[in-house]
């Protein structure tokens, strides 16, 4: 044994010194194997304390440091920094929590002292097994792949592209703009006129740092944050595939509408002049709001929540665009009679309610109803419904506009497979954490923005694109290396039998299988060090650095002295 372990007990003023017999502690542990010095100090986290520790490490030429003080959650980092300054690898240090978990929760001084001694012994016998872990640094590529050329994708591209960051914008159709292109107008407080969109499209097209790949799809993606490789296949005039290297990926593949044919009661596809929302957008964009017979409608019914029950969620935006339609109809066809059929009005944004009140003032009827049945009746559409309170009623109109639920776009599941991303029960992409991390995925460096994550209005989609950009701008800085987690898992090849249990439990896809060697391989750039794989491996073939079996066993043994 040539360890020179220094053990330092912090008095933490009275907090530890009054509740634990520190002198007895020192006496007990100073004889432990490998301990060179065992001392106490008033307050080790103070500047004096930190300087004192640093000096001690140098003076005593310590090989390992054990500090008995407060919780690692308080000052582990503090003392690791002290080690760094004093030229000791910070992982050759162990902080023992004798304040929160001894002094403060055990009133009997005897007992508190006994436990403290246990913990410190555990720390001493553990620390000798610590390995001097080193931070790795990986080069990273700042460039970004954005999948989907709708408003979200465009916004992200504009936010990210710059002289030192190239953006590849991949769109599967021929032109940029996505769904918004089809709209006739936007809500006044959500992009007053479509010129705003056109501007953005133009900006992106004129930006020499954005490479636009229309009629293209992503075929394959490999790699990790900072170092992804993607294969893009172009459908236009067989120009084949293209390999690109990027550091991050934003998925912005948007949504499509629920097909109202799946809810026959609305007569969509059977009855003339029953349109879905997008069809009406295009109709009004064309400027000709006409019935099949060429005449303008005199009365229109707008039905909300089509497919809501079937899908099990509220699409949030339908109420508002339906009101938008109603007001548009009134402007374009004065005197027209418009009725809105809703179940619950969803007006969550601060300006929504005013917009709705105005519509009501303009004489648009709002009827809360369900159980619809649309029938053709002498050239008109007869909308039968059950009004609030259960009374059956009906109204005959020239035209009906359905507001179907928003659902994931076709290629969502295919893309999920390529990128190895989870979908949620609604079929949209699943955020890694619904609350705290609403645009990230389990794969670091891969983000999702806009309606690919779920129904959203335009500002929200833009916010998410800017959010994804923010994450990328701060984690992928041109010329700056990325530092992956240090306390990761590693495979001990000689023990791995290749059962791949670890692959099945790793949430981050950090483990892959080496067919040639027949063993699992941990990608340290992806691993977050949770140790699930270690726990799941019966052979003990995975080592979680800094939490190895021998290290934990030493703690167990000391706990049971």
């Amino acid at each position: 044994m040539n360890e020179k372990i220094g053990v330092y007990v912090c008095e933490c003023g009275p907090n530890i010194s009054e509740r634990i017999d520190i002198d007895r502690v020192l006496e007990e542990i100073s004889s432990a194997e490998g301990v060179k010095v065992a001392k106490k100090f008033g307050l080790l986290c103070s500047n004096d304390g930190k300087n004192y520790l640093a000096d001690e490490i140098k003076k005593e030429e310590l090989t390992h440091l054990v500090v008995a003080a407060c919780s690692p959650r308080e000052h582990e980092q503090t003392f690791m920094n002290v080690c760094l300054e004093a030229g000791l690898n910070p992982y050759l240090f162990q902080l023992i929590n004798i304040r929160e978990q001894c002094a403060w929760m055990i009133s009997d001084k005897e007992e508190a002292t006994r436990m403290a001694i246990k913990y410190i012994h555990a720390g001493i016998s553990r620390v000798t097994l610590h390995k001097p872990l080193l931070k790795k640094e990986l080069d990273s590529i700042p460039d970004v792949l954005i999948i989907g050329g709708g408003i979200s994708g465009i916004e992200a591209a504009l936010c990210l592209a710059g002289k030192d960051r190239k953006v590849y914008l991949v769109e599967k159709t021929e032109l940029l703009g996505g769904m918004v292109k089809k709209f006739s107008e936007l809500l006044p407080y959500q992009g007053s006129n479509l010129a705003v969109i056109e501007e953005k499209i133009e900006q992106v097209q004129n930006n020499e740092n954005v490479e636009i790949l229309t009629s293209s799809e992503v075929e394959d993606v490999r790699g990790f944050l900072g170092n992804f490789e993607a294969v893009i296949k172009s459908k236009s005039n067989g120009s084949g595939t293209k390999e690109i290297k990027i550091g991050a990926i934003i998925v912005a593949t948007g949504f499509k509408l629920f097909d109202p044919k799946n809810t026959p009661q609305f007569g969509y596809g059977k009855i003339e002049n029953v349109l879905d929302a997008l069809e009406f957008e295009e109709m009004s964009a064309s400027g000709k709001i006409l019935l099949k017979n060429g005449n303008p409608p005199k009365s229109v019914a707008l039905i909300h929540c089509v497919g809501r029950n079937e899908k099990g969620y509220c699409s949030k935006v339908c109420c508002l665009y339906s009101i938008k339609f109603a007001r548009h109809l009134q402007d374009k066809l004065p005197g027209i009679d418009v009725s809105e059929f809703y179940s619950d009005l969803c007006l969550p944004d601060k300006a929504d309610q005013d917009y709705f009140e105005e519509a009501k003032k303009k004489g648009i009827h709002f009827i809360r109803a369900d159980d619809f049945e649309l029938k053709e009746k002498d050239g008109k559409i007869n909308v039968e419904y059950k009004a609030a309170g259960g009374k059956k009623d009906s109204i005959a109109v020239d035209m009906t506009i359905l507001a179907p639920a928003m659902v994931p776009s076709e290629d969502t599941s295919k893309l999920a497979e390529i990128l190895n991303l989870p979908l949620d029960e609604t079929g949209f992409f699943k955020e890694v954490h619904e609350m705290l991390d609403p645009i990230s995925t389990p794969i670091e460096g891969v983000y999702v923005a806009g309606c690919a994550l779920g129904p959203k209005n335009i500002p929200e989609s833009i916010i998410q694109s800017q959010a994804a950009s923010g994450k990328i701008l701060s984690s992928l800085i041109p010329g700056k290396k990325i530092e992956p987690e240090v306390k990761v898992s590693e495979i001990r090849e000689e023990f791995c039998t290749g059962c791949q249990t670890c692959l099945s439990v790793c949430f981050y896809g950090a483990i892959s299988f080496d067919e040639y060697k027949g063993i699992s391989v941990v990608n340290e750039a992806i691993c977050r060090g949770c140790g699930s794989c270690v726990g799941s491996c019966p052979s003990g073939a995975i080592r979680s650095k800094h939490f190895t079996y021998p290290q934990l066993y030493r703690e167990v043994l000391q706990a049971l002295r």
Binding site: C70, C314, D349, P438, I462, I463
Partner: protein
């Protein structure tokens, strides 16, 4: 040359998120917080819908990061006094109130609370518990360092000049009565406003009987009432110590007065029911709502689940609370216009979210406009939903309007994104 530093006002989930992203990007961040602790409103919650996750567990790691990130300079008990200049070169005056307890010296042992002779209402706990004139708002508050309340400290308010009970109890020489408020000058390139929200003061809506009928609570009071680190350590009891047997939760309190839907009340009220059902299975719970606003792909499922647990959801037109011989009753007209009443021994008011306390004055100091609801307005009509009318000044979270947590976080990340892209 542009100044790359950023001023972030408010340390709630939005302010923290933005600061962390900017800090990680290597930007110098000045994070200004009016209160003595960071974390904003979210740390008051026990769990958050729809997955009933523990809010503290979610937020604590972020708070730790904020305190440890060397690019983030935190100013607590601080407010913006003045803003001059323009994008890339703002000059900001900050007023930093005295804490009288040294962040450097104090180790948060709490030895100083006990000896303090003053006991007063703890506003962090919505007045549901008492605290001393020197105290942290709640266990687990970060930074875990108390503040002396100068209005109530006998020494500082001059009522008992010689009192130094706390100073005597402190072994770390952390108490400094002579500490003075300071004015600090900062220079930044961009400013992010994340001052969050407040709740409509329901005292001004007499029909709900708040502070008149004995067991009417605001949503925020209830959040603390069931928080494990709250005044009752999560035990659900009425003011008289009784366990409630029938509970009414009233949505849309103040919606018509404010003229907007706050977007989150339906969900958190449903969350309350979920919690109540779990704690007091036999309790009768009734949610009084108008239009249910439950957007978001997982929210309706959650609502359905609670519905199936036997919670009543009643649509009301108008509603009021009365107390007759000790019994509280909710008198309402239901969706079909029929009058009815519900006897409740606990009533929870889901009140409208309103702009945070200092919004108006802050808007004046910074010189930007508010919308007609009193929130900071963005150029959303130009599809720029985090940028204010003033170049280089951004807004995120509930300062811009009512929002849920992910909404606030996304907007904060967006603001950080915009700032990073204009500063590079």
């Amino acid at each position: 040359m542009k100044n790359p530093n950023v001023l972030v006002i408010g340390s709630g989930v939005a302010g923290m998120e933005a600061s962390l992203i900017l800090g990680e990007a290597g930007q110098k961040v000045y994070l200004i917080e009016r209160k003595s602790l960071i974390g904003g409103q979210t740390i008051k919650f026990e769990e958050v819908y729809p997955n009933m996750e523990c809010a503290t567990c979610m937020i604590a790691p972020k708070q730790q990061e904020i305190l440890q990130n060397e690019n983030i300079e935190l100013f607590l008990l601080s407010e913006v006094e003045q803003v001059k200049g323009s994008v890339g070169e703002f000059k900001v005056k900050i007023k930093k109130k005295a804490r009288y307890v040294s962040l450097a010296n104090c180790i948060g042992c709490g030895a100083c609370y006990e000896p303090c002779p003053v006991s007063l209402e703890n506003e962090f706990e919505e007045g549901l518990s008492k605290k001393k004139a020197i105290a942290v708002p709640c266990p687990g508050a970060l930074p875990n360092v108390p503040t002396i309340d100068p209005e109530n400290c006998l020494r500082l308010n001059g009522k008992k000049k010689e009192c130094q009970a706390c100073k005597e109890a402190c072994m770390f020489d952390a108490i400094n009565f002579s500490e003075k408020d300071e004015i600090l000058d900062l220079e930044v390139g961009a400013i992010l406003i994340a001052t969050g929200f407040g709740l409509l003061d329901v005292k001004n809506l007499p029909q709900y009987g708040y502070r008149k009928a004995k067991n009417v609570y605001t949503a925020m009071e209830f959040e603390r009432l069931y928080a494990a680190n709250g005044p009752t350590e999560g035990k659900l009891v009425l003011r008289d110590g009784e366990t409630p047997k029938s509970i009414a939760i009233i949505h849309c309190v103040g919606r018509s007065e404010q003229g907007y839907c706050s977007g989150v009340c339906c969900m958190y009220s449903t969350k309350f029911s979920h919690f109540l059902k779990h704690k007091i299975p036999e309790a009768k719970i009734c949610e009084f709502h108008t239009d249910l606003c439950i957007p978001g792909k997982s929210h309706q499922k959650f609502y359905q689940k609670i519905l199936n647990q036997g919670v009543d959801f009643i649509r009301f037109d108008d509603i009021k609370v009365e107390e007759k011989n000790g019994k509280m009753q909710v008198i309402y007209k239901n969706g079909n216009g029929e009058k009815a009443k519900f006897i409740a021994d606990m009533i929870i008011l889901s009140a409208a979210m309103i702009p945070g306390g200092d919004t108006e004055s802050l808007a004046k100091t910074i010189g930007i406009s508010l919308d007609k609801k009193g929130f900071f307005s963005t150029q959303s009509e130009k599809l720029s939903p985090v940028a204010t009318a003033v170049d280089g000044i951004f807004v995120a979270g509930c300062a811009e309007g009512p929002k849920d947590i992910p909404g606030s976080i996304a907007q904060a990340e967006a603001a950080a994104g915009k700032i990073l892209s204009i500063l590079r």
